[in-house]
């Protein structure tokens, strides 16, 4: 295994050639108990089944991970990857099946048991308490009785660990002050401190810039080299092929294959994941020629836009951008750099503290959301169930959320129930929403079907501008295709689209131009065709010649 040195990755000292590379360190890390003579696997899960209500998340899954390997677990959204690993982390109890850790049967009844057995998981949504400091978050996981917090001792040890492994974390920092990448390193630091030997990462690169992601992958390799067992959940096949020793594919709760990178390729893996051939997953989307559409006048004009974020701190600091008819403008950036606030100010959900917002030349700065919607703005929000839909209401009540106050859906103060019914049925039919009927509660639908209903509703009025935020997050491949196609059709029809996504491939596939946000400012802009993901990644990390961008209208 090659020796890796990279900033922000594990600095592997000479110890890595030892079997127990970090025993000399004063931290409570237990060295991986790697016995070359009796190579019992680090993790052996046998016949694991787990059901949520009527949904089978895992169906008699067998899974093994060895010491010193990176084992990738790939699969579509909802294939059961996270569930399987949550069982390993003690968060869920399987309905049936057994887990062995290092050859010994393990009863993982709670995360406490899992931590005690040296299993640590970095969740997709970090499990950190935001107002706490790094040290307090670590102490929270210590399985230690006693009264005193011993913050001083832990702080010193963490500082040592952080320096030793080049994680660059200040133990006194509060979590909410840290960037997403730093928070992830806090999670890793915590697992190292708590003595985890089996490390599970749930889609760790989804929130990182390409450079950060690469650095993290090197860290994972480095950990494996030291004898840790690393399980890596992803659906990004390139990463998986690059970093994994073994790859297991989950589909609909079942392991359909376990293979090695040398024995497979993107196309095969994609087919295994989805169960059928899919052009889009396989092709490099960026290379796909984007058919040009005649672009017209600016629909959205944003000038010098400032807005505050949730914590009352500035989240947007002087954004300038235009989106023209027939144009898709992609917004790239690491989560938390102003994307959410941009979408919310443009749609009228967040107030503008300075600057202006025009739609079709009409001044709409700080106008109510309803007025902006009437100006022809559709909004596919970041978190559908939290913002755009009402889980506890039925489909027709969800379908009319935009148009209930205008005929034909209402007459006078009353709702027009016949018109509501036919409108809902048309949406269901046109957008292939799978449901028992319009009276079904929205919550009973799958994520993809919810999103299709929302998309149908938002596109129903032939909007001038579509603000789409992570439109395919958490939906299956089939629905993703449908949603992408719908956005392409809208662009062809002449709509202006503001597309915000953390998935660079999606942005490159759908956009005409890409704008990179960093720290509430526009870091750079470029045409999507021929855009260099490397360059975008650097801009996402805030590295770039910002001066040259200032004042440049994009």
């Amino acid at each position: 295994m090659e020796h890796i040195r990279a900033p922000n990755s594990l600095e592997l000292g000479p110890g890595m050639k030892d079997r127990h590379p970090i025993t000399h360190h004063p931290s409570p890390i237990t060295p991986p108990s790697h016995h070359p003579v009796t190579p019992s696997p680090a993790v052996a899960m046998r016949g694991i089944s787990k059901r949520f209500g009527s949904v089978v998340a895992n169906d008699r899954v067998d899974f093994e991970a060895s010491w010193g390997e990176v084992h990738a677990l790939v699969g579509e959204n909802g294939a059961g990857k996270s569930t399987l690993m949550s069982i390993l982390a003690g968060l869920y109890r399987p309905d049936s099946g057994e887990v062995e850790i290092d050859g010994a049967p393990a009863r993982l009844r709670s995360p406490r048991d899992a931590i005690a057995r040296g299993i640590g998981m970095v969740y997709q949504h970090f499990m950190l308490v935001e107002p706490f400091t790094v040290t307090e978050n670590v102490v929270l996981g210590e399985q230690r009785s006693g009264v005193d917090l011993e913050l001083g001792r832990v702080e010193r040890e963490l500082a040592g660990l952080s320096e030793k492994y080049g994680l660059g974390i200040d133990p006194r920092a509060r979590i909410w002050q840290l960037s997403v990448g730093e928070q992830q390193r806090v999670e890793i630091l915590r697992l190292l401190y708590l003595g985890a030997r089996i490390l599970v990462f749930d889609e760790p690169t989804a929130v990182l810039t390409p450079q950060e992601a690469r650095s993290l992958l090197q860290t994972l390799r480095g950990m494996a080299a030291q004898g840790f067992s690393v399980v890596f959940i992803s659906h990004k096949l390139d990463e998986v092929l690059e970093v994994a020793d073994r790859i297991s594919v989950l589909r609909r709760g079942e392991i359909v294959a376990t293979t090695r990178p040398a024995e497979t390729d993107r196309r095969t893996l994609a087919r295994l994941m989805v169960g059928r051939e899919l052009a889009e997953v396989v092709e490099q989307p960026a290379s796909e020629p984007h058919e040009p559409v005649a672009q017209g006048d600016a629909v959205l004009e944003v000038r010098g836009l400032y807005a505050l974020g949730e914590k009352g701190l500035p989240a947007l600091r002087g954004i300038d951008l235009d989106v023209r008819t027939g144009e898709t403008l992609g917004i790239a950036g690491v989560a938390g750099n102003g994307q959410r606030e941009l979408a919310e100010t443009v749609t009228g959900l967040r107030s503008v503290t300075d600057g202006s917002l025009r739609i079709d030349g009409k001044e709409l700065t700080n106008r109510p959301a309803a007025e902006i919607a009437r100006a022809g703005v559709a909004h596919i929000p970041e978190d559908r169930l939290a913002t755009g839909l009402i889980g506890g209401m039925d489909l027709s009540e969800n379908a009319i959320l935009r148009g209930y106050a205008r005929p034909p859906l209402c007459s006078g103060p009353f709702l027009a129930s016949k018109a509501v019914a036919s409108f809902t049925d048309r949406l269901i039919a046109d957008h292939d929403v799978k449901t028992p009927g319009r009276w079904a509660k929205l919550r009973t639908l799958s994520g993809g079907n919810q999103q299709k209903l929302l998309l149908g509703r938002e596109l129903a009025g032939e909007p001038r501008l579509i603000v789409a935020v992570h439109p395919t997050r958490g939906v299956d491949v089939g629905a993703t295709e449908a949603i992408h196609q719908a956005l392409r059709d809208q662009r062809a029809r002449g709509a202006a689209i503001l597309l915000i996504s953390e998935d660079l491939d999606e942005l490159l596939a759908l956009s005409d131009r890409i704008v990179v946000l960093f720290d509430g400012r526009v870091m750079g802009a470029m045409p999507a065709s021929g855009a260099d993901p490397e360059e975008i990644g650097l801009l996402m990390a805030g590295i770039g010649n910002r001066e040259s961008e200032v004042g440049t209208r994009v």
């Binding site: 949520f52 968060l91 950190l128 210590e142 917090l149 914590k311």
Partner: protein, 372 residues
């Protein structure tokens, strides 16, 4: 009459009885008699020694001795609210809202008085009140933590139930004076300190316990491992769970502990400031305690400040009445409630709320399997 949730006004039932008994008197006389009847039952240490029998004017009110006596009375009167407020505070810190504090206090007041009459010891009363409060809160814990019921409605149910239960079970001991109560104990040396000694160290044992509790809880919440876990389960239960902390068990525990403190708060009235049991005698103090938690920004030390502030309003209100200030006692009695609204509005403006740091998961049931 079916009396729910402290329909009696602040001055308690005694004022009403007095007014009924002498319907022909003017309001001022009525208020005077309300106060007199208080005098006969009022057993707090900081009594009206400075109040002469003649009418006072403003110059009398502004004497230092008078102000000190008001402050001492504020501490005595605020103690019941303080216990309840601390109880709600740890409950909310754990992420659970308990609106049943008023009902728990009533049951605590009744069981404290009842146990004292039965045993002859105020201490037995206090312990029984703790237990009664804990068992009331256990119902809330079962419903809200165990069965994930609506916390608001469960709390309201607790208040309605507690008011009815205490009124029913207490029917035979209404107005029976308990054989013992928490009386003034001067702490040697400290009681001699000028001003401060009079205010803080010539009080009852319950007052000292409450002050010790404030210090203890402050230390516990901010300086211990258990306190760190408490803050974590109220702030981000998912993270606490992933770190191996049994969120449901801890939440239930803190709800029950908080209920015990609220029960003791009830006993602090029925065995302290207003010995004996009368229906609805908490008169909304439980609700004020809930409001005060917001004012306190979930910090025990600030809770003490708030509770004494309200104790001051209560104490000052009686003194104003006796001083013959020309305001109807009914309006003076409104003061604590109006003051609560004012405090609430000032302390919950959206911006301040963020700075104060309410537990982020407050009122949200934690369901591990819903997350997946």
């Amino acid at each position: 009459m079916l009396c729910i949730a402290g329909l009696k006004n602040w001055s308690g039932a005694s004022a009403n009885r007095a007014t009924e008994a002498s319907p022909l008197r003017s309001d001022k006389q009525a208020s005077r008699s309300a106060h007199d009847s208080r005098l006969t039952t009022h057993d707090s240490p900081c009594r009206l020694s400075v109040l002469p029998s003649r009418r006072l004017d403003m110059t009398d009110i502004l004497t230092p001795a008078f102000l000190i006596s008001v402050l001492a009375a504020a501490v005595a009167a605020g103690t019941a609210i303080l216990f309840a407020c601390l109880g709600e505070l740890i409950t909310e810190r754990a992420g659970v809202l308990n609106l049943g504090i008023e009902g728990i206090m009533l049951v605590g007041a009744l069981s404290g008085a009842g146990a004292c009459i039965w045993s002859g010891s105020a201490w037995v009363g206090a312990v029984v009140a703790l237990a009664a409060g804990a068992s009331m809160a256990a119902v809330h814990a079962l419903l809200c933590v165990g069965l994930r019921a609506n916390q608001v409605v469960s709390g309201l149910a607790l208040t309605i139930f507690g008011a009815g239960l205490s009124a029913f079970l207490g029917r035979d001991i209404v107005g029976v004076p308990p054989p013992s109560a928490f009386r003034r104990i001067d702490i040697p040396v400290l009681a001699e300190i000028p001003v401060l000694g009079r205010i803080l160290f010539q009080q009852s044992a319950l007052v000292y316990i409450s002050i010790a509790l404030v210090v203890f809880l402050w230390w516990y919440i901010y300086r211990t491992r258990a306190g760190l876990r408490l803050r974590a389960i109220g702030e981000r239960p998912e993270a606490a769970d992933a770190m191996g902390i049994d969120v449901a068990r801890l939440r239930a525990l803190y709800v029950i502990a908080g209920g015990a403190l609220a029960g003791l708060g009830g006993a602090a009235i029925s065995l302290g400031t207003n010995p004996g049991w009368t229906e609805g005698m908490t008169a909304g103090r439980g609700w004020i305690a809930v409001a005060l938690v917001i004012f306190a920004a979930w910090n025990p030390a600030r809770a003490a400040v708030g509770a004494y502030l309200f104790g001051g309003v209560e104490a000052g209100q009686f003194r104003l009445q006796t001083a013959g200030v020309d305001i109807s006692p009914f309006f003076l009695n409104m003061l604590p409630y109006l003051f609560t609204i004012l405090v609430l509005v000032l302390s919950t403006r959206e911006a301040t709320r963020r700075l104060l740091g309410a537990p982020a998961a407050l009122g949200r049931a934690y369901v591990r399997e819903d997350r997946g």
